[in-house]
């Protein structure tokens, strides 16, 4: 990995990461600030939820909303968080190669005595560092919010949550970088990665609504993404985490190979 490239990429991302982290913290605290009201009206909430089919509620990330984990999951972690995180990861991931080509800076960048693989690895390490900061901000804000509303969350649950969130980011970053590695402008890989993420989400929702479409569970990264369960009882399915990591790492390796072999011209 090129440390020079890593430092520059980190500097380039710093303000973006800061604003996203701030947004995630504020949103997390906002959601938790409403939890005391939900807790006080837990019975009515349960009755309300019971009026919807269970599969529909689960498909849209809302179940057991009278518990803290259910409330945070339904209102934040299951849908809103992956949306926010995907925007950051897709934009930053799609920029890694394609924006250098689009802006024409690739020629000068590749005139340095450093291999393409190490240069891209430096950028990817900075992207990973950015994701770690955002996940830490998310988990930290939930822990802080829980403290303010007199709820206790086990450290193990928070660590499990962090692992699930980070692995989701790794998977999305993987295919975003892969799409960027052969593109000439950032818009295309960003659009394709966003479309792919949406397709994964739709596949996951549809798979829950009908048994006929149950097989779609096997092709969606959202199947392996269960932050609410991690927060509830600290449980993570190792195969789910492994699946997300494999998607991210495999796509990244292919991206490195493509970038090494492609024409680097604007």
């Amino acid at each position: 990995m090129s440390w020079v490239m890593f430092r520059k990429a980190l500097v380039d991302l710093r303000w973006t990461v800061l604003w996203y982290a701030l947004g995630l913290v504020l949103y997390g605290l906002l959601i938790l600030s409403f939890y005391p009201t939900v807790r006080e009206n837990a019975e009515q909430m349960r009755q309300l939820m019971a009026t919807f089919p269970k599969s529909v509620m689960e498909a849209f990330g809302a179940n057991n909303m009278s518990t803290l984990a259910g409330w945070v999951g339904g209102k934040y972690l299951n849908v809103m968080w992956p949306l926010i995180m995907s925007v950051f990861v897709i934009m930053a991931g799609a920029a890694t190669v394609a924006r250098e080509v689009e802006r024409g800076t690739i020629e000068l960048l590749l005139s340095v005595p450093e291999s393409r693989t190490r240069l891209l690895a430096g950028k990817l390490a900075a992207l990973f560092a950015g994701m770690v900061v955002l996940v830490a901000a998310t988990v930290g804000s939930i822990a802080l919010g829980a403290f303010f509303v007199d709820e206790t969350l086990a450290v193990g649950n928070l660590v499990a949550l962090g692992a699930v969130l980070l692995c989701f980011g790794v998977a999305v970053a993987g295919y975003s970088v892969l799409l960027s590695s052969f593109s000439k402008e950032r818009g295309k890989p960003a659009g394709m990665a966003a479309g792919l993420t949406l397709a994964f989400y739709v596949a996951w929702v549809v798979s829950d609504l009908s048994n006929d479409w149950g097989w779609l569970r096997n092709v969606s990264i959202f199947t392996a993404f269960d932050p609410q369960r991690a927060l509830q009882n600290g449980h993570v399915e190792p195969t789910h985490l492994a699946a997300l990591i494999i998607v991210g790492v495999a796509c990244t390796v292919v991206a490195l190979v493509i970038f090494k072999r492609r024409d680097a011209i604007a």
Binding site: D12, L108, P113
Partner: protein, 327 residues
Amino acid sequence: MESVPVKVEGLTRNYGKRRGVEDLTFEVGEGEIFGFLGPNGAGKTTTIRQLMGLMRPTSGTASVFGLDCWKDSRRVKEKIGFLPGDIRLYEKMTGGELLDFFAAFRGARHERLRRELAERLGLDLSARIKHMSKGNRQKLAVAQALMHDAPLLVLDEPSSGLDPLMQVEFVELLREEQARGKTIFLSSHQLPEVERVAHRVAIIREGRLVAVEAVERLKHLRERRMEVDLHAPVPPERFSALDGVRVVSVAPEGKHVALAVRGKLGPLLRLLSDLPVDDLTFAPPDLESVFLHYYEGDEKAGRPSERPPEGSSEGYPGARPQAEVRR
């Protein structure tokens, strides 16, 4: 040979239907300033991109100091200071930050060289690149290419965007670099620029190498246009009688003569000093006249060719004699 700074053999690059370069073969000797001359779109930048390992050749090879430009790209770049043709820099950085960034990849900062370059080029390194004019960006990119003290400089259209005074300073810088033992590969579409500084020139057109010539030889081949205003008519035969002078046109009253001049100027200047000359313009040499030289014989035969004249290469200080010519 290990010591050959640049060696290109049968280099071909296709872009599908678009033309790239085809079967280029030439060498650049150590300590030489080598001009790479051709009109826009001829294939100069495509060749340079292959030297820099930015593109893989379709066939053939390019090597720098014996290292393959594609396979050993990282080590090749340790030996090159590079100026791209289309300058695109990181807009948010200051000039100083940009130089720091590129220096950091090489470990050594060459502080004194960097400071001298900034002073001579009149660069304000504290300014943000997004606020710099095209000329200042070009100067910054020139400083970036030269500051690494690399043994080979690959410069793609380096004087583009520089004002005339800065172009003079830049030529002086190149001469100093060459005197310090650097080899310089310089592409341009402007014949006068290359003539001023290069020892030898490769001429490329439509992706193919037309010839590799010593600059002194080139000066004998190309024609320059001269327009002479006279306050009394002069028979055009007086001009055409001179060796290397061709009368292109004569105004009806014989007071305005357009000439094409090739080779030594002395006899023509002596004639002009005896004539009633009102005014005179002498155009800089242009590339087209050089191409005409190579093509005119074949056009008569009804087909284009890049066959060069016999004995087309002359020596230059510190370089091996060579006369590679490819179809």
